[in-house]
Subunit: 191 residues, 2 copies
């Protein structure tokens, strides 16, 4: 067997060719772009209905935009958060986003168990989410994994503030549309 | 700013050029290779003292070998487990390792919070570790992140069995050697 020695994941062509704003001043503008990309993403068949941005909290500069490309890349770890954080690190040339300015991760629901850890290791200082709770799992069928009840306090203890309920209803509309489709739910085990 | 649109991580050259066995019949043989690669890895400066294999549980066929390349790749998510799982998925051409045979992840300590989730999403059916507990954090200085107390039961509820304490003392020797060095501990925030 020829074993692979490189892993790679790319943004879908529709997103690579899409003009994105240089800056998104408000939380609502940031989340509106997340929702737009999340909805386009599952309809294009790249992966689940999830998108994430890395943004400079103060200036609103858009550093990276990611979407879930589990299906397109063939990698189960290629969730929107991991993609956005990795692209930001690639662009900035460092594994540590806790640089001289505060960067944040904006995503359309509370990260899953894996992306929760990825957020902590990335160096972002703020997590902005459209919501948390069982609605995402209920509407989409995705398993979000075993999370601690004190997930938010654990982030804050590590210097990551959490802002929630930004354009929450729009997130639920995307999940509901996805759930009503015949898209692949890529929980391992295909159960 | 030119934003990156592709993320990539590669095995270090010393590992790409290293002949690896086609099969590792026993847990001890699997873990011995993990320990060897983990020790070589931090000494080469690629990342932390961690390595992981994806192996066919029944036959021992070696599907993928990964090491931590956070420093070499510039990606905070490039832990050994994510690298090994992603390389296995690349080689096999699927995001779901729960195929017609049972595959397992072999790693030299209980996965961190991120890799714990990555293990669940990968489709592996068994997790083989050298140990768990505070010794890794104490010896290396790495934060392993917020884990649930019932982490093992949560895996088993998702069809992933756990085998622990395989060549445990050798893992601690690697961590102790790393901890006594001046290597970079890449917890975010450089704290």
């Amino acid at each position: 067997m020829d074993r692979a020695s490189t892993l790679t994941a790319s943004l879908p062509h529709w997103l690579q060719g899409r003009p994105l704003p240089d800056a998104l001043p408000t939380d609502e503008e940031r989340m509106a772009l997340v929702h737009e990309l999340a909805d386009l993403n599952w309809r294009a068949g790249n992966g689940g209905p999830f998108a994430a941005l890395v943004v400079d909290t103060a200036s609103g500069e858009l550093i990276a935009a990611g979407v879930n490309v589990v299906l397109a890349s063939g990698l189960s770890s290629a969730h929107a958060e991991v993609v956005a954080l990795s692209l930001a690190q690639t662009t900035l040339g460092t594994w540590d986003l806790a640089t001289d300015r505060e960067l944040e991760l904006v995503v359309n629901w509370r990260p899953c168990a894996m992306c929760y850890g990825a957020t902590i290791w990335s160096g972002v200082r703020r997590l902005v989410i459209a919501g948390s709770g069982p609605e995402c799992e209920e509407l989409t069928g995705f398993d979000e994994g075993p999370m601690r009840d004190d997930w938010r306090q654990q982030l804050e203890a590590r210097g990551i503030s959490v802002t929630t309920d930004v354009l929450r209803e729009a997130a639920l509309r995307t999940f509901a549309a996805y759930g009503a489709s015949t898209s692949t739910v890529y929980n391992a085990r295909r159960d």
